[in-house]
């Protein structure tokens, strides 16, 4: 197991977080992290399957975006400006950071049959620009998926590697959006970095083995923020697996939600992770879209609190409030305690 893996296991096992359902008045979402490295090392000696809240030093981290009605970020907020309820119990916020942690961006591009041609070219340009927009500590990973989930570039800061990988992208085959999102969320686990998964897909899924409810469950148990950039679903597209040619329909995936249910599923996933879903028209400027997603993610606060007065195990529903009138708060909706 690599160092990164070990680290991930430690932190994830100790502090696996995900959200448990339901809309709250304020959008919130789980993000957990320990603030004490020595504590982490101690935790690493525990069996990996024994998660969370073993040490007093453990804390939950929660990424929170606060914007006004013009989508401008409120800056300069302090701990006292926030109120966090964990299963309804108000928690003491021990620390707040803004823009300090490096970011890992996972770009997952749908290169199934349904995403091709000019759209694919614009995608290439958008991803390249996104790479340029990253901070010097930030990294980018590139995943391509059709029926297969394929990481073509692991986390890197080398733009030339990404550019080269993008030149070889070719579209075709079926689509495994759910599987890809699931894999991307699970593998985006470096504890000392913020995790953003940007998935570009038209949303049609033909080959996933991941059931919709399982996908939501994975979203709750992992910590990446998911942003979906979605062009309109092309009608008459072909989705096929070993037959790389066209049909006029989309195969149902594992349990095959019909289109309305599929939309609801995506809304749930992004909501659970504190992310967003952005439509991208056929002539949309994808470069600007990707840049906006990154800026939104970058301009989030990270709150740390040590859960008190609540059971460790099970779901922890989170609610976050800010003492700014008219502010829109975006955060995970909860996390899993061990």
């Amino acid at each position: 197991m690599t160092t990164r893996h070990t680290f991930a296991v430690v932190t994830c096992a100790a502090l696996v977080a995900a959200l448990y359902g339901g809309r709250t008045e304020l959008r919130s979402a789980p993000q957990w992290r320990t603030t004490n490295r020595s504590a982490l090392r101690t935790v690493s000696q525990e069996p990996a399957q024994q998660p969370t809240f073993r040490l007093m030093a453990e804390a939950v981290s929660l990424e929170v975006s606060v914007r006004n009605s013009n989508r401008r970020t409120y800056t300069g907020l302090k701990a006292a400006d926030f109120e966090v309820l964990d299963n309804g119990v108000r928690q003491e916020i021990v620390d707040v950071t803004f823009g300090k942690l490096p970011i890992d961006v996972t770009i997952a591009l749908d290169v199934s049959y349904s995403v091709n041609g000019a759209m694919l070219d614009r995608l290439r340009r958008a991803v390249t620009q996104l790479m340029r927009d990253l901070g010097k500590e930030d990294r980018l990973k590139l995943m391509l998926f059709n029926a297969r989930v394929n990481r073509v570039v692991d986390f890197t800061q080398d733009i030339t590697v990404v550019e080269k990988a993008l030149t070889t992208v070719a579209a075709g085959g079926g689509t495994t959006v759910y599987d890809t999102l699931s894999v991307a969320m699970v593998s985006a686990s470096a504890p000392d970095r913020r995790q953003l998964v940007v998935c570009f897909t038209d949303g049609g899924d033909s080959n996933s083995a991941t059931d919709p409810e399982v996908l939501v469950d994975v979203a709750r148990r992992t910590r990446a923020t998911v942003a979906l950039v979605m062009p309109p679903l092309i009608s008459g597209i072909e989705v096929r697996s070993f037959q790389p040619r066209t049909t006029t329909m989309i195969m149902p995936s594992a349990r095959g939600p019909a289109a309305p249910l599929r939309d609801k599923l995506y809304a749930t996933v992004v909501s659970e992770t504190g992310g967003s879903r952005i439509g991208a028209g056929s002539s949309a400027d994808l470069t600007q879209t990707f840049r906006a997603v990154l800026d939104d993610f970058r301009s989030a606060y990270v709150l740390y609190f040590r859960p008190k007065g609540v059971e460790r195990a099970g779901f922890h529903t989170l609610a976050v409030k800010v003492n700014k009138s008219g502010a829109n708060v975006l955060a995970r909706k909860g996390y899993f305690g061990g």
């Binding site: 995943m143 394929n150 894999v183 593998s187 059931d211 096929r240 070993f242 049909t247």
Partner: protein, 681 residues
């Protein structure tokens, strides 16, 4: 070319395909099922009859004959005049009068009587070791009885009759019947001289007659045709029934001859162009087209007798071709110089195709780029480049239309055409061009009729329909697929694969993914109770067949899971065991599905075990890895989940049967086609 290869090449001139499409089949040894010039090693045999002064000439020897093969005189190795047992196929036209239905009741009763009279007449002309079979032709071709010794020929008490006339198809079907070793085949056709429904053409008959070893005699029953005309004229004049009450839609009528009333009564019977081709075809085979009319000569019986006599008194010349290229068409000319007025009847030639075995090794042929190149490749049995080229063909519409409208590129090999049609159909059905779908469907429907075995559904038709259904299932257009499956079930009501296909197509109706809403899905997006019951019943019905029991259980299990009935789903999936099916993909899917169902039941650890079992069965499959990763995450085994996530992203491209699950049994398409291609040969 080796002697064996040459024999194969000679065998290649046999045209056996239509036996499956229009003709007869008999469970004979395949080695006997081809019609060829009988060969020793490199030998060719030619039947020759010699008539002079109105009598057959006997006692001729090899030195009496001069035989030219492509203009090169050949040394005749042997001449045999010993009578050889013959197989006679009688083709009797029992079609109705397409101009109106009112005359049929009157005639129907006479049909079996007349038919039986003909049969018994021929039986009396045969020798004890000869055999006779009878075929009746109307819209379809029916075998009245199979090959029987003359003494065992049954009386014909009933014959289905009326309708259109598939005369040309019937003649080809008869000519393509397998012939036993050391036997000869005579086809006798009695017809009113009208064809209205055949897919074959007179040219195809000529083509086959050129290349087969059959002796073809056609007797046109002009009197019967005249009666039809006279009766219609009389009814028009006396009853006012001048506009026929059509019982059948007659797309076209191809007459062998015209029944042209002449002044003062009677009819002229000039041969039409089609008739001329038939006459040529029969002459090419060594036979003839005879015109029989009431009170005229030759009578039907006379024609038959003459045919048999000529055949029995014929010589069989055997020679080894020298000085000529073996492959290709060989024009034959046989003369008897010492008898100046001799009428020598022999076939006019034969053809040897280049067989794959005899062809010299060549570089891998390029992918076809034109229809003709597709045909050439298929002629060479070079299927792979054809399939590869079609898979990337942008719009197969033109190819399909060319085949549909241009006729069979292999007139003597209808099976080859039928299989080629499936290749095009697959390309058409999966094309991005909707119009190609329509062309493909039309082509399939046309071949339904072409393939419909005249007597009983046969193995080739069954295999062809199976391949067709696998394609359609793969398109996931269940509404379209169902109509084709219904046809297949009409032909083969108890075929488990077709019954399973029906269930799969119904299953494919939910979730709703087409343009037209169906009853399978409620407005809220769930399956309707009616649909659940229907799918369940159809899968259950297939479970009684051992061949499809495991797949029916697995598919029903997955369906029930999809509609939220996990307890029942698990019952179905556990009703079969891994060892119950040799199909690894099915065993894999069963475990994968069990995993999903067990997750649904909250039995995460059991689900993990099932996913691991699926992975063991198909180690490079992505789906069980993702599913296992999800479940491990859920039970808190983050370490292994992470490892799996890493492995999934970096694994080399592998296969996964789950990806094709929704395509029904399309996974069997390659095997189905391979099986059909084997039957082309």
């Amino acid at each position: 070319m080796s002697a064996r290869a040459f024999a194969c090449a000679l065998a290649a001139i046999a045209v056996i395909g239509l036996a499956a499409s229009r003709g007869l089949t008999s469970p004979q040894d395949p080695a006997r099922s081809s019609q060829t010039f009988r060969t020793g090693t490199d030998a060719v045999t030619v039947d020759v009859s010699v008539r002079a002064g109105g009598k057959m000439v006997g006692d001729l020897s090899a030195s009496d004959f001069v035989l030219l093969d492509n203009g090169v005189q050949q040394r005749i190795d042997n001449v045999e005049s010993a009578p050889m047992p013959i197989d006679v196929t009688l083709v009797a036209d029992v079609s109705g009068d397409q101009r109106g239905s009112w005359i049929e009741p009157e005639e129907s009763a006479k049909v079996p009587v007349n038919f039986d009279a003909r049969v018994q007449q021929i039986a009396r002309l045969l020798r004890p070791d000869d055999r006779l079979r009878a075929i009746a032709v109307d819209t379809y071709v029916h075998e009245v009885f199979g090959l029987k010794a003359p003494s065992a020929v049954p009386p014909v008490r009933a014959v289905r009759n009326g309708g259109l006339s598939a005369l040309y198809d019937a003649i080809i079907a008869a000519m393509l019947q397998p012939v036993g070793a050391n036997r000869r085949h005579v086809v006798l056709v009695a017809t009113k001289g009208r064809d209205t429904i055949s897919t074959a053409t007179p040219e195809a008959i000529r083509f086959i007659a050129d290349r087969s070893d059959v002796l073809l005699h056609i007797v046109t029953m002009e009197t019967e045709a005249d009666n039809d005309v006279a009766r219609a004229r009389s009814q028009c004049a006396n009853q006012g029934l001048c506009t026929p009450t059509r019982r059948f839609w007659v797309p076209f009528t191809r007459n062998v001859f015209d029944s042209t009333p002449v002044e003062g009564g009677g009819f002229n019977h000039p041969l039409t162009p089609a008739g001329n081709v038939l006459a040529e075809a029969s002459t090419l085979s060594g036979g003839a087209l005879h015109r029989a009319a009431m009170f005229s000569s030759p009578s039907t019986g006379g024609v038959f007798r003459e045919a048999f006599d000529a055949f029995r008194q014929s010589y069989q010349l055997r020679y080894t071709p020298q000085g000529v290229k073996r492959e290709g068409w060989h024009t034959l000319a046989v003369t008897v110089p010492r008898i100046p007025d001799a009428q020598v009847r022999a076939r006019r030639g034969y053809s040897i195709d280049v067989s794959p075995a005899s062809a010299a090794p060549t570089a891998r042929p390029p992918m076809p780029t034109t229809f003709d190149e597709f045909v050439d490749a298929y002629t060479r049995s070079d299927y792979t480049p054809v399939a590869r080229a079609l898979r990337s063909w942008p719009d197969p519409s033109a190819l399909i239309r060319r085949l549909d409208e241009g006729g069979n590129p292999w007139p003597a090999a209808p099976r080859r055409e039928a299989v080629f049609a499936l290749e095009l159909t697959e390309a058409g059905m999966f094309s991005k061009q909707p119009v190609a779908h329509e062309y493909a469907r039309r082509l399939l429907n046309r071949f339904h009729r072409l393939l419909r075995h005249p007597f009983e559904a046969d193995a080739f038709e069954r295999d062809w329909l199976w391949a067709e259904i696998t394609i359609l299932e793969g398109t996931i257009r269940p509404l379209v697929t169902q109509s084709f499956i219904n046809y297949a079930l009409e032909r083969f009501p108890d075929d488990p694969r077709f019954l399973l296909a029906k269930a799969i197509a119904t299953d494919q109706m939910f979730p709703f993914i087409g343009a037209v809403p169906t009853a399978a899905q409620s407005p809220s997006g769930t399956a309707t109770a009616e649909h659940v019951a229907k799918v369940t019943a159809q899968y259950l019905a297939v479970m009684k067949f051992p061949e499809t029991t495991p797949e029916a259980h697995v598919r029903l299990g997955w369906f029930l899971h999809r509609v939220g009935r996990d307890d029942e789903a698990l019952e179905q999936l556990d009703a079969v065991q891994d060892a119950s099916s040799p199909d690894r993909a099915l065993r894999y899917l069963r475990q994968l599905f069990r995993g999903h169902v067990l997750v649904g039941l909250g039995r995460d650890n059991d689900a993990i075990a099932a996913y691991r079992a699926a992975l063991a069965l198909w180690p490079d499959a992505q789906s069980p890895q993702v599913s296992l990763m999800n479940s491990l995450l859920k039970v808190g085994n983050r370490a292994e989940a992470d490892e799996l996530a890493e492995g999934i992203q970096t694994a080399p491209m592998g296969t996964d049967p789950w990806f094709s699950y929704w395509l029904g049994d399309y996974r069997f398409y390659p095997n189905a086609m391979a099986r059909l291609r084997e039957q082309i040969r």
